[in-house]
């Protein structure tokens, strides 16, 4: 497909998809300008953009962004590792799963934000408690999705591998794991968005860097445009992370979408 053709095909789609966002930005721009909302409390996007530009020029935007990104990635990495291992384990051994299910469901309902004071008491105000709140928020969706994914693997596939003489390890690694992969990735993407929510909370208490800190600090010093700048940056962080996770997911589950048009 030529580039021109591709643009012609995707452009209308792009416009219709961003119509809602465009309308929202327009309303946001107009509302404070014509006095529907006091512009001291709601800065229009043009002003926010300028504030972001100034933050970036001072090098602060990148600094806060990268600090938050690092926290999110560390927290997510730990919960992906722990969630997948525990999820595979509980999904595979039904008996274990049965006795742990109630506990896990309870943990999942236990808000990471409500537990934050506990983490601070136990682990102090440093990076550790921040990592743990992010870890806690994202662990449960990953663990439970992985476990469900393993439980839902079509038994006929396992049986067919067995009749071929497959070992337990082969069945686990080459049948159950790929069969459960789509659900595992759904959990990881869910976990990713929880990480971004949790990092804000973590940075609003006892931090001196990160986008969450930027938001709360700007609010305290009444720098309203920068506050909105921080909020927008957090949205960008969330969307970007989700986009990358989605890319990784499709690279692993491409067989689902593949359309072959001959060699």
């Amino acid at each position: 497909m030529t580039l021109r053709k591709r643009i012609l095909i995707t452009a209308p789609d792009f416009f219709s998809r961003s119509a809602g966002l465009a309308a929202f930005l327009l309303l946001w721009e107009i509302a404070p300008r014509i006095g529907w909302v006091r512009s001291t409390y709601l800065s229009p996007p043009s002003v926010v953009l300028r504030a972001l530009y100034l933050l970036a020029a001072r090098g602060e935007l990148a600094k806060h962004f990268l600090v938050s990104l690092e926290r999110v990635l560390i927290g997510l990495a730990v919960s992906v590792a722990a969630g997948c291992v525990l999820g595979l384990f509980t999904g595979y051994f039904r008996k274990v799963e049965k006795s742990l299910d109630l506990l896990f469901q309870a943990f999942r309902q236990m808000s990471a934000f409500a537990l934050f004071p506990v983490f601070i008491l136990l682990f102090g105000l440093g990076e550790l408690s921040k990592t743990i709140i992010i870890f806690w928020a994202s662990l449960w969706p990953i663990l439970l999705n992985t476990s469900t994914g393993v439980k839902n693997v079509d038994t006929i596939l396992v049986r067919s591998a067995k009749t071929m003489g497959a070992s337990r390890a082969y069945i686990f690694l080459r049948v159950i794991l790929p069969a459960a992969a789509p659900e595992i990735f759904t959990g990881i993407r869910l976990g990713g968005s929880y990480c971004v929510m949790a990092v804000v909370a973590a940075e609003m208490i006892g931090a001196n860097s990160g986008l969450g800190y930027l938001v709360i600090y700007s609010e305290e010093t009444f720098n309203v445009p920068e506050m909105y700048g921080g909020i927008v940056s957090l949205a960008v962080l969330g969307i970007g992370l989700n986009y990358i996770l989605k890319k990784i997911e499709t690279s692993f589950t491409s067989w689902k979408h593949e359309i072959i048009s001959g060699e």
Binding site: I156, R159, S160, T163, G165, R174, E263
Partner: protein, 267 residues
């Protein structure tokens, strides 16, 4: 040479009855069957009589409660490299291409990638799907998927092939084509096949012998030798011998039905 000897095999399950109480359900009882090396044996019988149950036991997927099953004169083992099973639901790995599906059994046997590729391509050619080697199962029709599933077990050359109504989900035309293909493939290297079907015509067309099961107790009631000449072709369906055997089978089943009222369902 006897490939499989089943002696007085018993299998029961515990199921909940309509009152919610656990009840013993005897499925196989006094089940005797010999399957000879290199023969094509079909197993026919009313729905629920225990055909799949016996096949699963032979496949090492299920246990039996008593009796004895010997394969190659040795006790049946749950794990074996010598068996292949074709399921009605194809059971292809959806994340693997057609060729990678064929290579699964070879991978399990530790063959090198080059060898796997060579063998899988040979069998794809045999079932006429070489052009589709890089497709995924969901991109194929039902008939093509079942061809892949058959090629997948043929590729690792098991001595005992188990097929549980492999063509039941296909339309009549595709089914007839695959029957003839299976005949050709099997007549070329005569592996032992145990084939479950509900179609008397299919059983007659393919088999050396057809075993008829009764239900409750699930056991072999009759065995008929099909002495149609081989190699068999498409035309044999319309031959006088075929019609003759069909008549013999029908009257036999009718007699069985009168003797044993629970034996019915496919006449």
């Amino acid at each position: 040479m006897v490939k499989v000897q089943a002696r007085q095999v018993e299998r029961h399950f515990f199921v909940r009855n309509s009152l919610g109480k656990k009840e013993r359900l005897g499925v196989l009882s006094g089940f005797d069957l010999d399957i000879y090396e290199g023969e094509f044996l079909s197993l026919v019988g009313p729905s629920g009589c225990g055909k799949t149950t016996f096949l699963n036991i032979l496949a090492g997927l299920d246990d039996y409660d008593s009796g004895e099953i010997l394969v190659d004169h040795k006790r049946l083992e749950k794990h074996s490299f010598d068996r292949g099973m074709v399921f009605q639901g194809y059971a292809l790995f959806p994340w693997r291409t057609v060729r990678k599906n064929l290579e699964a059994g070879l991978e399990i046997r530790g063959l090198s990638p080059a060898e796997r590729r060579r063998i899988s391509r040979r069998y794809l050619e045999l079932v006429g799907l070489l052009a589709f080697e890089n497709h995924y199962p969901h991109q194929l029709s039902g008939g093509m998927r079942q061809r892949v599933a058959i090629a997948r077990v043929l590729a690792y050359e098991p001595g005992l092939l188990l097929m549980d109504e492999p063509f039941a989900a296909l339309d009549a035309q595709t089914r007839e084509v695959l029957q003839i293909e299976l005949l050709k493939i099997w007549e070329a290297d005569k592996k032992t096949i145990l084939f479950i079907t509900h179609s008397i015509d299919e059983a007659i067309l393919l088999s050396d012998r057809v075993a008829f099961m009764s239900s409750a107790p699930g056991r072999i009631q009759d065995i008929i030798t099909i002495d149609l000449p081989r190699p068999r072709t498409e035309e044999i369906r319309n031959s006088a011998e075929f019609a003759g055997i069909r008549r013999r089978v029908s009257s036999l089943l009718r007699n069985d039905f009168l003797k044993n009222m629970s034996f019915g369902g496919y006449l």
